[in-house]
């Protein structure tokens, strides 16, 4: 085998082992505290996730004053609902889908994502395939996701800076009678990334019925 091969591919040891040794070392160094790490993990596993973003969108759909504040200063309006900016959430902008425009978010250079409202990103968002194709083939990609945006212009937001983007989907037709809590159930994670659309009110009704049985 040639150097071309050896040079770059010395396999590192198993991550689980390396990480165990690393934490032990950093605790000894006083750089981390295992209990603090536990709490941080718990925060991102349980407290921060797409339900945060769904609440923001549902509030904006129902409260014109909130909606206005959200467009004026997204991070501040999000904090109003009890979701602190935290890392990857300090500089937020909400981009609105309209009958003429569909928005979609990617980070081609790494995997920037609005943690404060969506939690940590799914694997597909971080995948090479998504990062490669979102900017050059958004329509093909949306169709793989089962999303047809018709003749709308697509705007792909490539999060190259510290700005984080949250898509405000169009409020589904037929959702007029739903409460803010019920509306939040329509707002999927993917609809806030722009790779999905909100659930219809009818689908939510079916799912609620099924769960009740």
């Amino acid at each position: 085998m040639s150097e071309e091969h050896d040079h770059h591919n010395a396999p590192p040891s198993e991550p689980a082992q390396r990480v165990k040794a690393l934490e032990q070392l950093l605790v000894e160094k006083g750089l981390v505290n295992s209990q603090a790490l536990d709490e941080l993990i718990d925060t991102y596993e349980r407290r921060i996730g797409p339900r945060n973003g769904a609440r923001v969108i549902a509030r904006a759909w129902t409260d014109p004053e909130y909606r206005k504040r959200l467009f004026e200063n997204a991070a501040k309006a999000i904090e109003e609902l009890g979701f602190p900016p935290g890392p990857q959430g300090e500089h937020m902008m909400v981009v609105e889908n309209t009958p003429r425009t569909h928005n979609m978010v990617v980070c081609t250079l790494c995997s920037c994502y609005p943690w404060s409202v969506l939690g940590l990103p799914p694997v597909w968002y971080k995948s090479t395939a998504y990062r490669a194709r979102a900017v050059s083939d958004p329509r093909g990609l949306l169709s793989e996701f089962g999303v047809d945006v018709g003749g709308k212009e697509i705007r792909v937001w490539d999060s190259s800076s510290e700005m984080r983007y949250l898509v405000m989907p169009e409020r589904p037709a037929g959702s007029e009678s739903l409460s803010e809590d019920e509306l939040a159930e329509l707002v999927t994670r993917d609809s806030m990334i722009g790779t999905g659309l909100p659930k219809s009110a009818a689908r939510r009704a079916r799912e609620t019925n099924r769960a009740a049985k």
């Binding site: 770059h8 990480v19 160094k29 981390v32 309209t98 490669a132 050059s136």
Partner: protein
Amino acid sequence: MNGVHDLGGMHGFGPVIREPNEPVFHSEWEQRVFAMALTAMGRRVWNVDEFRRAIECMPPARYLAATYYEKWLHALESLLLEKGAVTPEELLSGHAAAPAPAKGTGPLDGGGGDVESFDSSAVKLRFDKSFKPRFKPGDRVVARNLNPKHHTRLPRYARGKRGVIRYDQGVFIFPDTHAHGQGAKPQHVYTVAFEAKELWGADHKERASVYLDCWDNYLERAAVMPAARPAIKSAGRARMAKPAAKVRAAAGRAKKGRKR
């Protein structure tokens, strides 16, 4: 750095595969890596630009084969070494031979969950009026043909391409220097709209555009367009004007006194 991490517009990576009911983490070591990296960043042992730079410096074949948290682990280890916080021997043994140097490590409160802001995202800086914008929404610009060996956030697909400034997002730290300990060089970041045809060629049929955040240093004012390049249609501009104006109103409030 023209690295393999710069994936926008690349082919050959296959379909996007989604995992139904995906958990937040796939294993315990992913959790620990995430939390350790975030803690170190919160304590300013390194900044977010250095962290991205460290990931991009992975050998290319390994970068493409690695999962997200394998990349984080690589960056975590290599930055701890780079900053002198640990030695290679300590990494291998998992035991400290000496306490960490004081530099860059704030007090540990043990409270968890309260990771400080990354310093790149300093909120005050963003609205600091002493940094004047060079461009205003509506200006036509061209992304510079930069091919630096150092870290940069200007992707290859945009270089040399013409676009229109849509938003002035305020003042941010400059990653190209900040990732290498060469200063913050704060400057305005603009969201620039590039039409798909401009990015991917006249044959590209899709009605789409890419909104890319560009630091002031990445941009030049566009010269008069040569006939070969189609001008951005004014219909397109009119269509975009409304939401732009709406959001811009917010920025305007915070940045009163700036000229458009």
